[in-house]
Symmetry: D2
Subunit: 328 residues, 4 copies
């Protein structure tokens, strides 16, 4: 489809919600308005395409949402969109609504859906990375990641008050099923004695070394940050195992859980979302599709879905090194 | 002991830490300085009395701590202080340090210890209620309670972003082993669909009624707040049981855990702690002992330990009524 | 009007906005729904009565607003409502909308308007105290006051970082044109060296004494909190005057300004607003009018407008005494 | 000096304080400990060098400071260090303390001082960029900048509650004497209708266009963000001038002031500070000097002081373009 042919853009938030999705949505809607395109919001993720739960969005529809967590379009994981029949219904509703191209704000699962949909029905799709996990290739940061990091360290700061007051050791589980980004960065920022992430090996020995090193160094309380995807088993097992090895420690566990997904987006997430939302509209207008908009080294870049979905952001090994130096 | 005989006051933080303990400590130290008394800080709760871990505190020792969570004196639960031998050692150290009277910042367990100690050794003791649970008779609010409430509602606000975006039901466990104060107030303040507390009966039926009522009223997401002491079993069981009854709901559980004990104290907690810290010093100077300082209807009152320990703050039934009206 | 005659309640937010107004509005709407009354929201304060800017409110209209600052009905000060003609138009629209009674969420200016309106036209009115200034007689706290206090101390905590790092003296102006509640409580809670409020006399001498005392005590940085209504002139003059007297101090001024009016309400404000919103509806149903709902010593009380408007909440002198003791 | 000769590193925080300086200091101290170097902290900026206000720092000296605003070493601007005599005294104290190299955490003024000092006395110096203004060449972000941005948007979010509730226009002055980074990013993130920064020209016309455009688009409230260095005169003049042109607007002004310098550092600032603190120690060990450590495109880079001081970070024009698109 040539760029001049796009008159109406559909926008959907899909997968797990992330702070900043509303800011991205606002940017898409305002950019459409700026370029005199119509914009239609699909509610409840891909489900809204299938059930024709679609609303017209004008610039005032997105007033005062830049600072709100969650997504006003709501989101869902949609099994039916993974079936051919489901996507067919979706296509019919896209036609019915005269949507010429689709912007998907979500994670790589959502991009896979968009990519397949484009291949089957020829509707140009463009992705905006919205997930707290930061595990998407093609952008330095995903929308929501910076907010989640700050939510985590604010929680750990509170827990540290108790850890220090009681000379306790706390195991704190943070999100990141497949990637240790949240654990590693929040662990450094909260002065963790050790950080356990899926990407590291031999962690239990390292953990015990870290604990002993802390003891020698005169540390009376300890924070251990554990990524939920950590391979040694859940954070409770780790705590039990540690207690067996070091019975004298007063050990507690906290699973931060869903607070990490919500909250008002940080400045960085709002700016990132604003830039990517505009870039998504402009990308479609320039004829791009099956790509994800991202920011690398402060520049907007577009990465083919194929690449964004298959490749992984990798942990910066320098951070692992730094974490170890600082926990002395 | 006549008031003129008090020359040195010892101060200890004991039991679980609570935000505002530092503000109370600061007030005790500054009031001592104002009245030209010496002040000695006992570290690590009653353990510091037994191990003679005691430091002189001047007004500059407590600079810039009014806004800090935890307690700079640290705290612990001390089994040895429950033995006669332990208390004897404590008494010897009190004599060695020329401490004439003792201010205990803590909960009712700590007050029981102080009370017994006074009965055995004649050292005047005075309590300041510091605990997030608000379960102490003789004061409208305990130090730390208001902060914990705000920590809880800020966490639930974040969770609500996700609940609303995904049309989910969240079960959220908050602290309050014996009392539903935190659950009831935070539940009202976060717009919970139902609130389960130890003080209410027939809760599971009420919960199911609340869920059905919410459904009829068109609510698509729900927050259920559960006090940890809730008698029906843990929050996970409640969630499972609800899922069995209402399989269509997408139900999640979050246990807020230790973040509730920490954080910077709110204004109300800092003012409360400041008032009670001064009142404690003045109370001892006026010859009071074996009492707890509290604030009721905005006035400082002193309640005998006997009463403070045995009686319970009771839940305001009007709040239960209000919670029900608002969840419509 | 007998209670059974009330079928529709109008609700308006009026005067300056305050955090918790939305929570109060939600409680009014939900209580109406609970008692099977209709509820109509008047937009933009009394102006909406005059321009017939009135909307039906159902329980879902107020979903997810309990945690939002400001007021979704918007508010304004309305000169026309102070004229007979204006009020006549208002009455006509009230009749047109079949509104039987009016709940006014606002300050004493708004209550005066309501009171006059009731006297002229016989429409029962009931007030809910919403203002950050806490200067209304008949309630221990007004809605928004606790939130404003916390906003102020969080701001001063930040400023203290700089004050301490640079050994500086900061003069910080907080709101409170007629009353020193915010200044006094936030001053105590932020460890201010002195607090200047309209209610105290001879303040400049006291200020200089406080500064000298701080110097003797070895304090290197100082926070001075000043209520905006302070009679000695603006905070800038005070700072200049102090600089002339103590040239060696590095003095800075910050006027906190409008951030004090906004923000998410605290738990205490949400609960207070929820209780008063329900009480307002129930009060009207019981036949009360020309009264304000308030909470004193944790009980709902109703105070005649005449009294609420004329009398003043008075500063607790004990707090002034405490503030002095703690600044040592 | 060959790298093997460095046995003791001095560290100083200088100039205006910035959140994250403590995290950087902690990283310097811990890295010294890791590499078995001694570390000495110079208090009160360069003044401490002149007055020999210098303390030994071990890894436990910096426990629990990673999350604190300000700087525990304190800071000052020091006129005497700009004189030859002052620097001579500084050198003598450096010798007396056996300090072999100096790490300066501060802004470009502090780097100029360090650079001159190194040229005169041959003490290797290395800079770490700590300032909220982000106006230092050689690093994508300075330490404290991300925190300041979040402080600003949280304040504006509160003000927006009032702006929206009252249909008002707010002029908000933020820091940035020479550079519009804070204004531009916080303006985008808070949905400002216009952003006035020193780098843009013809701003008053653009402002009036923005206001008219907002009016046409149906906006009832407006946020205008103004950098303090804005050339058209202070924010009060701008507001007055706008009021003359658009008398019907209800215009208010807020100067955010010193709250922007304080507060707990964000996760990004803590990680940045941690990385740069370690890099500074390692840089000196590798024989680098008269350079500043920075992070560009997620890699540590060292920029000669000559360059860092003379060159300027430039505003990203894409952000100006985005801001305009989003304010529709």
């Amino acid at each position: 489809m040539a760029k001049s042919d796009i008159k109406t853009i559909g926008v959907v938030t899909s997968g797990g919600d992330a702070p900043g999705m509303n800011a991205a949505l606002r940017a898409v809607v305002r950019a459409c308005s700026y370029y005199k395109l119509r914009c239609k919001g699909i509610r409840l993720g891909y489900e809204g395409l299938i059930t024709n739960n679609i609303v017209e969005l004008g610039p005032r529809s997105v007033s005062n949402i830049i600072n709100r967590g969650g997504t006003i379009l709501k989101t869902a994981r949609c099994a039916e969109f993974r079936t051919e029949e489901g996507r067919k219904k979706a296509y019919e509703n896209i036609k019915k609504n005269e949507i010429d191209a689709l912007i998907v704000i979500g994670g790589d699962g959502s991009f896979t859906g968009a990519h397949n949909f484009e291949k089957e029905f020829g509707i140009p799709t463009l992705g905006v990375p919205g997930t707290i996990d930061n595990d998407i290739f093609g952008t330095d940061n995903t929308i929501g990641y910076d907010t989640a990091l700050n939510t985590v360290i604010n929680a750990i700061d509170k827990i540290r008050d108790t850890a220090t007051s009681h000379n306790r050791m706390f195991f704190i589980e943070v999100m990141g099923r497949d990637a240790g980004f949240i654990a590693l960065n929040s662990g450094i920022a909260s002065g963790a004695q050790d950080i356990l992430i899926p990407e590291k090996k031999d962690e239990i020995e390292e953990l015990f070394e870290a604990i002993q090193r802390g003891e020698k160094a005169g540390k009376l309380s300890n924070i251990i940050v554990v990524a939920e995807g950590e391979e040694l088993g859940g954070v409770y097992d780790l705590a039990k195992f540690t207690k067996m090895k070091y019975p004298k420690y007063d050990i507690r566990v906290t699973v931060l859980g869903h607070i990490q997904r919500g909250g008002e987006p940080t400045c960085a997430d709002r700016v990132l979302a604003s830039r990517l939302g505009v870039a998504a509209v402009e990308g479609l207008m320039e004829g791009r599709s099956s790509v994800m908009a991202g920011i690398r080294s402060n520049n907007v870049v577009f990465t083919p879905f194929d690449e964004a979905i298959v490749k992984q952001n990798v942990i910066n090994n320098e951070l692992i090194r730094i974490a170890d130096i600082l926990a002395r």
